[in-house]
């Protein structure tokens, strides 16, 4: 039996809510337990999962607990939930040995030399804290999403006037002097500097460079909206300027979705003036002619390939050709595969990986829908009910209000993967597994459990890309290994996985 309860006006961070839900689910008889801040998006998700939320009177500052269990257990379980919330059972019974400051000012007393604030609060609180940090002379890495455009512009204008940078909103990965902040893979340090308007885009390029033996010194995030005309590329240009003046950087890389035309022009001009060989990757753009010192890539792996060629003084044209030949081989392999069903479902935790994969899929497939689609008319009315060929980014705002990002808590995506896989019209399921600091400890295991619990007789073809390096805490070999063992086709880049999956689905839609 599914029931809900509201706890008014209590603040709990998403990790605590996730862990309490996990503890409740361990109890015998509990089929489902979910704790969320009562945002509209979360209520929608709970409704889709069968919880009665229509008559619920709650605001986004209230906590809603949903439990599916036998009726007689319900009261006890609710009591346990409240008890876990006030005294988390996974924490040490004693208080920690050291005091943790409760304010930014307090933290500055402890670390007066601090130079960056990493802010991962719920969106409605994040901007105010970011401004406080800027006023105290700190640069800001704004991991939070659900920050308004107006707030972003105000923060970035202030930063720009004060020689600071705001990296974000929605910036999950930054590398400074070889040290990763937020989500980051363990990569070598080297003479490449990257500016990226997308988190997993930065991760993928760094991982692909690492696989080619090349290191990155700085990877600066700007947030996805920075390249739109409203923001005007403030952080992008600040970042390019800073990398230009770093003598240890020999090659510059810029990654984003296609910018607004005037912002694009400013960025390209800044890269030209830097005097350093550069590669831009405006993903999804059509290929254009390279300039002597500025190369144009349209995909993440291609971007890394060109940067590697530039560094090694190799022929860029040949490097591109070699990569294309690899892609053609994989495409041929995909076309030969057997699959039952008609459609491709791309289910992603990394936003840029989803974007790139979708953009590749559109070259092979007729109608491609999504919750954040490349084509405006192709937006799914309900992201929980994909149709035909669909690409879902589970890190999108609608899924992360008062909820953890799927790279941290992969359970929601795995649940959806299972649901999609049961659909007999689905021929191919394409997904990403992102490793590194900040990510879940065993993300492949979650997916493999979902795959193994499939009831459908002839399941879909599973295709995956594991974005990680051998230095990552999750153990790349093991993560790849368990996927392969479960019958998943694993590829070495996001592009390769997408090409294979799309080629395998090509032509099936009309069947």
């Amino acid at each position: 039996m599914k029931r809900v309860e509201i706890i008014k006006g209590e603040y709990y961070d998403s990790v605590t809510l996730m862990l309490v839900a996990k503890e409740l689910k361990k109890i015998e008889g509990v089929t489902e337990a979910t704790l969320n801040m009562a945002t509209e998006a979360n209520l929608h998700i709970m409704k889709a999962a069968g919880f009665e939320v229509e008559s619920v009177n709650a605001s986004p500052d209230d906590l809603i607990i949903g439990i599916d269990c036998p009726g007689k257990l319900y009261d006890r379980l609710m009591e346990m939930a409240r008890s876990y919330l006030s005294s988390p059972p996974w924490k040490d019974s004693e208080e920690p040995g050291e005091y943790t400051p409760k304010t930014l000012e307090g933290a500055l007393s402890v670390l007066p030399g601090a130079n960056v604030a990493l802010i991962s609060l719920p969106g409605r609180y994040a901007a105010a804290e970011a401004m406080k940090a800027l006023k105290r002379g700190l640069n800001v890495m704004l991991y939070s999403d659900n920050v308004s455009l107006e707030e972003e512009i105000e923060l970035k204008r202030y930063a720009s006037r004060n020689e600071l940078i705001v990296m974000g909103p929605d910036c999950g990965t930054v590398v400074i002097n070889g040290q990763g902040l937020g989500f980051s893979n363990v990569c070598p340090v080297g003479p490449v500097g990257i500016v990226s308007a997308s988190g997993t885009g930065l991760q993928e390029v760094m991982v692909q460079l690492a696989r080619r033996g090349i290191g990155v010194k700085h990877g600066l995030g700007t947030g996805g909206r920075d390249i739109k005309s409203a923001v005007g590329g403030i952080s992008s240009l600040t970042a390019v300027e800073a990398l230009t003046s770093d003598p240890e950087i020999s090659v510059m890389v810029f990654i984003s979705k296609p910018p607004s035309p005037e912002v694009r022009e400013k960025i390209v001009q800044a890269l030209r003036s830097s005097g350093k060989p550069s590669v831009t990757c405006f993903m999804g753009e059509s290929p254009r002619e390279d300039e002597p010192k500025l190369k144009y890539a349209t995909g993440l792996e291609e971007c890394a390939t060109l940067a590697a060629a530039l560094l090694g003084g190799k022929d860029v044209i040949k490097a591109r050709e070699d990569l294309i030949n690899e892609y053609l081989k994989i495409e041929a392999l995909g076309r030969k595969s057997e699959a039952s069903g008609r459609f491709l479902r791309g289910l992603f935790t990394g936003g840029t990986l989803c974007y790139e994969a979708e953009s590749i899929a559109r070259r092979y497939l007729e109608s491609v829908y999504g919750n954040n689609p490349l084509e405006i008319g192709m937006k799914l009315p309900d992201s929980l009910k994909p149709i035909k060929n669909s690409f879902i980014d589970y890190g999108e705002d609608e899924f992360t209000q008062g909820k953890l990002h799927p790279m941290i808590d992969p359970s929601f995506r795995s649940g959806q993967l299972r649901i999609q896989s049961e659909d007999p019209s689905v021929a191919v399921v394409l997904f990403d597994v992102v490793l590194g600091y900040g990510s879940a400890p065993d993300p492949s295991a979650d997916v493999v459990n979902a795959i193994k619990s499939l009831e459908r007789k002839k399941g879909p073809l599973y295709v995956a890309y594991v974005c990680g390096t051998s230095g990552d805490p999750q153990n790349l070999e093991r993560q790849t290994g368990i996927l392969k063992e479960a019958g998943v086709h694993v590829f070495e880049s996001n592009a390769k996985a997408a090409i294979f999956a799309a080629a395998a689905t090509e032509g099936r839609e009309r069947k």
């Binding site: 603040y11 500055l108 601090a114 939070s144 941290i408």
Partner: protein, 59 residues
């Protein structure tokens, strides 16, 4: 501290929010401190009572 200085000196991070990031930074020996953040006060009556205390940042 300016961006250029940040890039030169390496990060010294104040973490406000997700604890895992703080834990990871500590593991990598990045100078770091965590803020055990709470939302600002909404209750006016409570605020009134606390304002009797000098100093302190209650908002």
């Amino acid at each position: 501290m300016s961006l250029k200085k940040l890039l030169k000196d390496g990060p010294k991070v104040i973490n406000i929010g997700i604890e895992q990031f703080y834990i990871d930074h500590k593991a990598c020996e990045v100078p770091t401190v965590r803020v055990d953040w709470k939302p600002p006060l909404a209750d006016k009556e409570l605020l009134g009572k606390l304002k009797k205390l000098r100093g302190g940042n209650f908002v």
